[in-house]
Amino acid sequence: MITIIDYGAGNVKSVENMLKKIGVESILTNKIEKIKSATKLILPGVGHFDYGMQNLQRTGIIETLDKKVLVEKTPILGICLGSQMLGNQSEEGIEKGLGWIDMDVKKFNLNDSSLKVPHMNWSNTTPNKKSKLFESMFENPRFYFVHSYFMSPNNHEDTLCSVNYGGNFVAAVEKENIYGVQFHPEKSHKFGMKLLENFANI
């Protein structure tokens, strides 16, 4: 059972659809009691950093989440904006992030004018360390990205994989029980299904 954190994020339905497809039960909630008993969490997200953080603050569950993630070490997967929110702050706004991974979120600054922002495309990426998320992954995994900002971890070892778009940027982070993917597994065919299945099996 995966608990999807409900704070008004946009891509929830797609995440639910894919979990259902791979036979993983999920609930969407922001009730403290439900979060407390969660065994696995997904923090979805699409949109503006401040909008996301403010909405999450409004649910009043951040303290509970801190305890779940940092003390109880419940596995959590952040997706897209949800992944960026795992960090300290973002150049997109002024709100503080959750601060679970020591990273900042930066705006693309590309010299090549043929490259558009947002980066909206499929990209191949493979992990540069062993990760449960990528266990038995299909060959040449590719994922769908839509983002104008990217994660920049301060500790190299928190980087799980990178992608090249006018330079290398971090596509996923992993630190103990905390996972974050810049891409959208819920929209990435069998590669996304495998990744979500792996997360469900952690």
């Binding site: 659809n17 499929w122 839509v146």
Partner: protein, 255 residues
């Protein structure tokens, strides 16, 4: 290697999958949900679903039908057809779509682009432009499936779209729809030179080579209808899509 998005376009008459020629003579193809399932297996980059009779019949988007399709779409999914209000756009995003495609309602309501892109991000707001040649052989922007002219010049209209926060331009050429006569590369370059918004080329693709040429004419992504639902020009129905190896060899390594 540089990847680009190669996008099948599914046109529906309400719940029936059809394919037109020059936006006319809709030919029944089959069940759109079945087509989406096949495109899942073929791991397509993205799908654009357009309800081509919604505006004409003054229908709202068919939400229950779109929801059913979305639940089977494990790739980015765009929907267009009959959208006129921000409430409809909100409803569509709740169903799990990634992008809305707007067209006929925009000339009288550019603010809808701004309103929607402020909430959902400009990357999820696609404007479809239907180009059609007039009797003098010059391209004219049209709406309502080509039945009405848009009163702006091409350049003025696109500048306005950009100013209001459009995230992507879906460039469709009615004269070439379903004809396999190739994209109009000059038009693609012309439009891409007017704006920094990514341009998706559509209308007339005859092969994978068309895709490569469109990208080399400054399109950011390519789309096609007939090519992905018919087997060659003999028009046997066959939902198809190039393999990753084909795409790499014939496009990604050549652009």
């Amino acid at each position: 290697m540089k990847r680009i998005r190669v996008i099948p376009v599914l046109t529906v008459d309400n719940e029936k999958l059809v394919k037109t020629i020059r936006f006319k003579k809709p030919n029944y193809i089959g069940d759109p949900i079945n087509a989406v399932k096949i495109f899942n297996n073929k791991e397509v980059d993205e799908i654009v679903l357009l309800d081509i009779t919604a505006t004409k019949e003054k229908r709202s988007p068919n939400f229950s039908f779109i929801e059913e399709i979305c639940s089977e779409a494990f790739m980015p999914f765009a929907y267009g057809g009959g959208i006129t209000s921000i409430q409809q756009i909100e409803q569509l995003f709740k169903l799990g779509i990634e992008k809305v495609v707007l067209n006929s309602c925009i000339e009288d309501n550019f603010n809808l682009i701004t309103e929607a892109s402020n909430i959902f991000g400009s990357q999820s707001i696609v404007i479809s432009l239907d180009f059609k040649k007039n009797i003098f052989g010059k391209y004219q922007l049209t709406k309502e499936s080509g039945s009405k002219k848009i009163q702006y010049s091409i350049e003025d209209y696109i500048k306005k779209l950009e100013l209001h926060g459009a995230g992507e331009i879906f460039l469709n050429v009615i004269d070439r729809d379903g004809t396999y006569q190739d994209y109009d590369y000059n038009l693609i370059s012309e439009v891409a030179n007017i704006t920094t918004i990514p341009v998706v080329a559509c209308g007339g693709a005859h092969s994978i080579e068309s895709f490569k040429n469109a990208i080399n004419s400054s399109a950011s992504a390519v789309a096609a209808g007939s090519l992905f639902v018919y087997r060659g020009r003999t028009k046997g129905i066959l939902i198809n899509y190039p393999t990753q190896d084909q795409l790499s060899e014939e496009i990604f390594n050549k652009i």
